[in-house]
Symmetry: C2
Subunit: 143 residues, 2 copies
DNA sequence: TATTGTTATACTCTATAACTATA
DNA sequence: TATAGTTATAGAGTATAACAATA
């Protein structure tokens, strides 16, 4: 890649990263009250099916004892339950409860509300640009 | 706004918010090692001029004692300095040091490196879309 | 013997309440 | 009396090390 194009890529990457991080920060500041960020994160991991504490610790990149504690809080608050593993007596399956699903729904609704208010003020063309960008950004984040 | 258009706006807002938050999370996971997130945040607040602990606490939405501690860590690490306020003997001015500026530069470079690697793989057209989107997102975040 | 999960212990960041110095 | 900053103390979240139960 030529130097000039590389410089443009660098500038775009900076602008894009900063914009994403600032929006993320605003969303969290304005709307996260019900559960702590790491609890929300774990809750959304078990949304589509139970996982073991070990798996959750690896996914969330925290230690096993930390995950034990976080799961303990979720269970204590009625947002998740511990169940025995059918095949392996050592393992535990952390399962989301109906109340846990409700917390996920409400938190997402609050977060989205902030964003909807801003997107609604844009022009149709700006929204179209953002729709294209959202697809590309989602792919980047998934790598 | 018609119902159908409102639904599209809602969907776009969700997709966009999720993409931004996931990218933000990835960037932090992959590249934040030198200073803690809240230290980095405070450091960037005093980048363009000194601020008092009170002002920093308000901006960062933490308590005054928390900010006292964070500033204490920054000072201990040589990234910031405390200076007397010229007019008001009660107040303190927290000033960034040359070493503090270097930490900001290095952390930003690491964060950008992750993003540059991904943006470089995109097509010219995708980059053009993202460049337009970055402008719009920056405006949204600034509101 | 290796793995899963938990408990024991310590460190960091956060908060509220109380204290000191200055306006 | 009010404000800025700090110190005292306590409550979460995180980590490593040690332990119990199971494979």
């Amino acid at each position: 890649m030529p130097t000039k194009e590389a410089a443009a890529t660098r500038r775009l990457s900076e602008d894009l990263r900063l914009a994403c991080m600032r929006i993320s920060r605003r969303v969290r500041f304005e709307s996260d009250h019900e559960v702590a960020p790491h609890q929300f994160s774990v809750l959304s991991r078990i949304e589509d099916g139970p996982l073991t504490p070990r798996a959750l610790a690896d996914i969330e990149k925290v230690s096993a004892p930390s995950m034990t504690r976080t799961v303990g809080c979720l269970v204590e608050d009625g947002l998740a339950e511990r169940a025995a593993h059918p095949d392996d007596g050592r393992q535990v399956l952390v399962t989301i409860t109906a109340q846990g699903r409700e917390v996920l729904r409400a938190t997402r609704a609050r977060r989205d509300a902030w964003m909807v208010a801003r997107v609604a003020e844009l022009s149709a063309q700006e929204r179209a640009t953002l729709a294209d960008a959202a697809k590309i950004l989602a792919e980047i984040a998934a790598r």
